[in-house]
């Protein structure tokens, strides 16, 4: 994430190293977006917005926001661990599958 909040510059040598910057967004009609209080970017969930706060507006956060960032990051780390277990399982399955396939075809 490289969104630059209007005040800070997270990406100092911007001219030299241009990045995409904050992405444009569209909110489907009927949705009630959770909006970032610092840059106005909408998010479909409070959790997503909190992750964004931590990634982009880290230094500017209030204590309360910082605490919720820590909590959400914690729970994301748990999710990520489970996800990575699945990824490792998928890698093993893919490689074993191919190896078996080769064994059958070449035998």
């Amino acid at each position: 994430m490289t969104s630059t909040p209007p005040t800070a510059d997270t990406d100092a040598p911007d001219d030299d190293r241009p990045r995409w910057g904050p992405p444009s967004t569209t909110v489907p009609p009927g949705d009630d977006p959770h909006t970032c209080p610092y840059c106005g970017r909408p998010f479909p969930s409070d959790r997503r917005r909190t992750l964004h706060l931590g990634a982009v507006h880290g230094p500017a956060l209030t204590d309360e926001e910082a605490a919720s960032v820590a909590a959400v990051r914690d729970s994301e780390a748990d999710d990520l661990f489970v996800f990575h277990l699945k990824v490792v399982a998928a890698i093993v399955l893919a490689l074993m599958g191919l190896a078996y396939l080769y064994a059958f075809v070449l035998s």
Partner: protein, 507 residues
């Protein structure tokens, strides 16, 4: 995640890829330009080779999914060294060399021998330039800006400064690219020196006329050849920036906007986020309706024009990927059967080819756009679809480059001795110049290039996703549709490449 762990994983990935590729390349002589499937006994059936290729892409995505540290990903994408500025005489010399090359093609094409393999014009254009030079553009860096003879010649003419809308520019460059490839693949321009000269002169007249009206904007935005090289050049490790040459990892430049066309300074930040506020449709296609004018003034107009140029680049990248595939498609043996069947029904052959070229482009564009829409959905994100299109399209460039290398490296190497011998004496060359005979295993290099291009594309898409989406799981989920499309595309293209090569029938 610490760096050493990450490096160990990278090492593990390299070993896995090496083993898979060693298996995948067993069949040996696959194809590539002029290589035919020779008598080597293929122990591994081609469907399994294709499947393995798809598996390599899927597994390399799974390995990248283990890397979820924003700082690390950014660090890898930003690793670079800045070299000294290229001395001015070098680019001046390149300009002179380009013009001399153009003159040589026109002169020798007209007065040289009619045999294509002994005519310097044919060898210089197809072997030296389209096969060899293009490969240096994506493997090293884009020197076309300096070498481009038409840009040098246009400096001698009065330069226009008319505006062109980004939409028109894209339409002309995509149309030009399809036309050039049609001519390259299907017409005698690649065989008949005089016809080739006619095409070169025709292109020269069109290009110089365009430059006289638009000035530099013609080469920067409209000219299809310059656009091909500009985009291929972004795959390369050498990037030209204002403070000199920059060395990055291959493909690293694809993770950010082009350095020669930086995003207008967003004081127009409001503009960047407000842009789609009025577009409440879930697909966020509002920018499609935009027809920004290049070179307009004012912050908002600048930002819009810049955006329209990026949308144009995205469309052009898809066209580039399609034409490299088209090249392989029409010379595959299976295509010959289909073409004979369709022409047998009374369809004119050229109509069939034109229709295939256009429909294929449409299918590729639709597939890419659909993947972008699905990406927004799998990521469960509010990031607009045009934004996803523009950011992820450059990740397709390494695939096109890999396909180009697979197709043209054997062609270039086998005909390079001819080029050297004929260049030494262009007007009375030996009747049959020497040709390098490549060993059978060389076909495996083509498969390797294609798979390497795809793996690089997976890496670029990963870095782009982490730059675009929030958190650590959402960026991975955003890549599912792209990975699915890439795996399907790999399987198809490896199947095409492993087909015996034949001359396209009826043309």
């Amino acid at each position: 995640m610490t760096r050493s762990r990450w490096l160990r994983r990278l090492g593990g990935l390299a070993v896995v890829l090496a083993v898979l590729l060693a298996l995948a390349t067993r069949p040996g002589a696959a194809h590539g330009g002029t290589l035919r499937l020779s008598g080597s006994t293929a122990q591994v059936p081609f469907w399994l080779v294709s499947l393995t290729g798809g598996g390599v892409i899927g597994v390399s995505f799974l390995f990248t999914a283990l890397v979820t540290d924003h700082d690390l990903i950014r660090e890898v994408a930003d690793a670079r060294r800045v070299l000294r500025v290229v001395p001015a005489p070098a680019s001046w010399l390149a300009g002179v060399a380009g013009v001399l090359g153009l003159l040589a093609v026109v002169a020798v094409g007209l007065v040289g021998p009619p045999t294509p393999t002994a005519n310097l014009a044919v060898l210089l254009v197809w072997v030296g330039w389209w096969a060899g030079f293009t490969a240096t553009v994506y493997l090293l860096g884009n020197a076309w800006r300096a070498l481009n003879p038409w840009r040098t010649l246009a400096k001698l003419l009065p330069a226009g400064d008319r505006d062109v809308s980004a939409r028109t520019a894209t339409a002309v460059s995509v149309g030009g690219l399809l036309l050039l490839v049609y001519m390259e693949v299907l017409s005698p321009f690649s065989e008949d020196p005089v016809l080739l000269v006619a095409a070169v002169v025709g292109y020269s007249v069109a290009t110089l006329a365009g430059a006289a009206v638009l000035g530099d904007a013609w080469f920067d935005r409209v000219d299809p050849i310059s656009r091909v090289f500009r985009l291929y050049g972004r795959v390369a490790p050498l990037q030209r920036t204002r403070d000199g040459l920059r060395v990055t990892l291959p493909g690293a430049a694809l993770t950010r906007p082009p350095s020669d066309d930086p995003r207008p300074r967003p004081d127009a930040r409001g503009d960047v986020t407000d842009r789609d506020d009025d577009a409440t449709d879930a697909d966020g296609d509002a920018t499609d309706a935009r027809d920004a004018t290049v070179g307009a003034h004012g912050d908002a107009d600048d930002a819009e024009a810049w955006w329209a140029r990026r949308e144009g680049d995205a469309t052009f990248v898809v066209a580039l990927l399609w034409v490299t595939t088209f090249d392989g498609l029409v010379s595959a043996a299976a295509w010959g059967d289909v073409a004979r069947a369709v022409v047998g029904l009374g369809v004119p052959a050229h109509a069939l080819y034109v229709a295939t070229l256009l429909v294929g482009f449409g299918v590729f564009l639709a597939g890419f756009r659909l993947a972008c829409r699905l990406s927004r959905r799998t990521a469960d994100s509010y990031v607009s679809v045009p934004e996803i299109r523009v950011r992820f399209a450059p990740a397709l460039l390494p695939i096109a480059a890999g396909y180009h290398l697979a197709h043209y490296l054997p062609y270039f190497l086998s005909l390079a001795p001819s080029l050297a011998v004929v260049a030494a004496d262009p007007l009375s060359p030996p009747p049959s110049p020497p040709v390098l005979l490549l060993p059978n295993w060389f076909g495996g290099i083509g498969l390797l290039a294609i798979v390497a291009g795809h793996v690089l594309a997976v890496g670029v898409a990963h870095a782009v996703a982490f730059d675009t989406f929030t958190g650590r799981l959402q960026p991975i989920r955003s890549q599912y549709p792209f990975i699915l499309v890439m795996v399907l595309y790999t399987i198809t293209s490896l199947w095409l490449v492993s087909q015996p090569t034949v001359a396209p029938p009826f043309v």
